[in-house]
Amino acid sequence: MEDNQDIIQEFVAESLDGLTAVDHSLLELERNADQPEHIKNVFRVIHTIKGSCGFLGLGKLERITHAAEELLSQARDGQRAMSGETVALMLETVDVLRSLFQSLQTSGRENLISVDDLIARIVRLQKTAPGETPVPTAAAVTPGPAVVSHGAGDDFVRVHVSLLDNLMTLVGELVLARNQIVQSSLLAGEAGASNAAQRINLITSELQESVMKTRLQSISVIWGNFPRMVRDLSLACHKKVQVEMEGAETEMDRALIEAIRDPLTHLIRNAVDHGIESAEVRRERGKPETGLVLLRAFHEGGQVIIEISDDGNGIDGARLRKKAGDLGLVGVEELSRMTDAEALSLVFLPGLSTAQAVTNISGRGVGMDVVRTNIEKIGGTIDISSAAGRGTVFKVKIPLTLAIIPALIVSTGGDQYAIPQISLLELVRLSGEQAVQAVEMIHHAPVYRLRGRLLPLVYLNRELALETVPGAESLQDPEVQIVVLQGENGQFGLVVDEINDTQEIVVKPLGSHFKGLHAFAGTTIMGDGRVALILDVPGLAQKAGLSAGLSDTLRRSQSKGETAEPVRHSRSLLLFEVGRQRRMAVPLSMVARLEEIAVESLETSASRTVVQYRGRIMPLVRLSEIYGGETVARDGGALPVVVYQALGGNIGLVVDRILDIIEDGWSAEEETPHDPTLHTAVIDGHVTDLLDLSKFTERHCQGLVGQSRERSPLKQEVA
């Protein structure tokens, strides 16, 4: 028996592949019995299994496959139609076979499952009168290619995964050695050496690519099981559900395929159990009786996108919100700020399920959080969008491979760090005057204005608690290097000391001692043999508090997705408070700068409040004086000022508090009665006044700037 183990394991692996194909063919036959090529396919697999069982002394398997083969041969010879009953029995047979094989795989022997009843039923069916409508053409079918071919033919070799993993590791090492050779040959500058290095460079890249390809598997490896699963589930829930798949040939790394198996299974199970309605309900709603679960996979920008959509119930954002509130999972205030579309992401909270009834399939409120965790564990993301009554779409994004990735190398505090290129958007270098002025502060948060959008800045040395290199700030020619990154919740700029170059790096795991730091995604070895840490971009963003505040707003507006929403405007707004309660906003594109001006530096000129600003006099307008609201008393300290340009100069609007930047997405803007300078809108769940700056200038600032120019000599007096 020992000697047989290797053979048995190989046999099991081949047979399990074969059974997946059988499942597929049986389901096809269930839809349309007149498909001789599928019947042949089923017969061929069962026949092969039976043959091998005899050799290996696997009694139960042999008896079942023998009985099944007899029945199938009737169908193959056109004496029996593959009717519903026959197909159902064969599907059951496949399940029993699979269970036996799985037991063989783990314990090396057949399990104790009783097969007598099954065999008896097969034999009984076989003895009954053959199907009412024999399939006359079946016998005459000329041999053609099998519908689903699995590892058949001489062109394929079965290779153990551990061998491929090992190859991958070795290639990883080779890539590192290659990097070292290339680097030192560049330094040495010898023609011969650098030619050889160049060749090694190319060959290594090709080798790496080929080895990576050996590890790619098409997603059909896991999708193959889904039609069967959906069939069984829909029978159990008394629903009619059809599965459609697009892009089943999409390939991704084996390790990743394995990692998404469970999450996808869960999502599909949910779609059938909760998503699709019963046939009656669907008829009432004017939908086709048969529900649709659509799986799509495709490559996009170095990632694999998998979409799982159903045309069922959809998820009711309002109900989710209520449930989350009832369970106390989210604060009441936070809930009230969410739109229904935003509330959808609540499904990923632990302990939340909207299933009205807990079924034995799903609805216990465990799961979606695990789905998300599992997907995030492999560097993926999951988004949800849904329209009540129309269906739900889950979009899962997975990186193509994990082992070797292109990365940008940066330095900070004297150490090198690698940033995965997948989250890299662009690089910005500010020097000289620009470096000093371009970084602005909103409410103690540094931002940089990138093409009119405010980019929150994160200083790597601060996040990593590194001591700053002394003297760096007093340099003659200060420079700011900004790496613009796509965080989970929006873009942000990472400020580093130096940007080095891009490299292919081999990702190695970070030791378990450092797992809790949330700043690093892994490690790699640089060309000089030193270890460098790979930055965990989402982790850093979170550390820097970007998940709340600024980028939170961004995310919310993004997650609204395509779901039906009232007309939305898309521009950025600067949100601030005037008086104690009043929320106002101006378009960000109109804002020149945000300043904090010390109360002591305010001066009065011709009964106007002015301040010296960048060598000129800037009039200040207190919005609370114009729009009422209780002015917040301030003794000393600094006033937040929104500076904009008008009438050929700067005008400063004194506000009471800068609140936030809102990106895209507020609704229902309407003109405020009696005040042409204001429009009212609901932003972030609050009534907010949008300030029309041009009308505001016309009405309240006429003469302010002009006069200040005439009096510009004042500047010299004071200065």
């Binding site: 990593l464 190695k508 030791g511 001692h513 450092f514 070895i525």
Partner: protein
Amino acid sequence: MSSQQPYCTFYLGPYLFGVGVGEVQEIIRHQPITRVPLSHPVFSGLINLRGAIVTTIDLRRRFELEDRPAGALPMNVIVRYGEMPVSLLVDRIGDVVEAGAETFEPPPDTLTGEARALIRGTYKLRESLLLVLDINKTCGLGAAVGV
């Protein structure tokens, strides 16, 4: 004699430590270390051991001794911590010592605090005491101790 146990020995300041020969993977010279920001100070960082990334623990810090004088390069004692190699930074490598079980005693009372928990016991050698390191406890610092 079966009661004779071989130990790899090394020094930390004046103290002589020992690790069972079977627990030591190898001993290498000082390597460039990449620090891991935000981690607990006992971790000096990471080294590249022929392509494998190895966490290094500065034993001086682990035993709450004062830091090595600047310029003094430590040696790496690579031990197996479960499946994972971990490098222990020590001052100087000593000989392999055969110690008899009859000279073994529990940790001396002079050892206090954290250090005491990391020592399995001592052998009274002729010239000095050999402190036997408990590898699992020494390396068993979770992420929880990170900042």
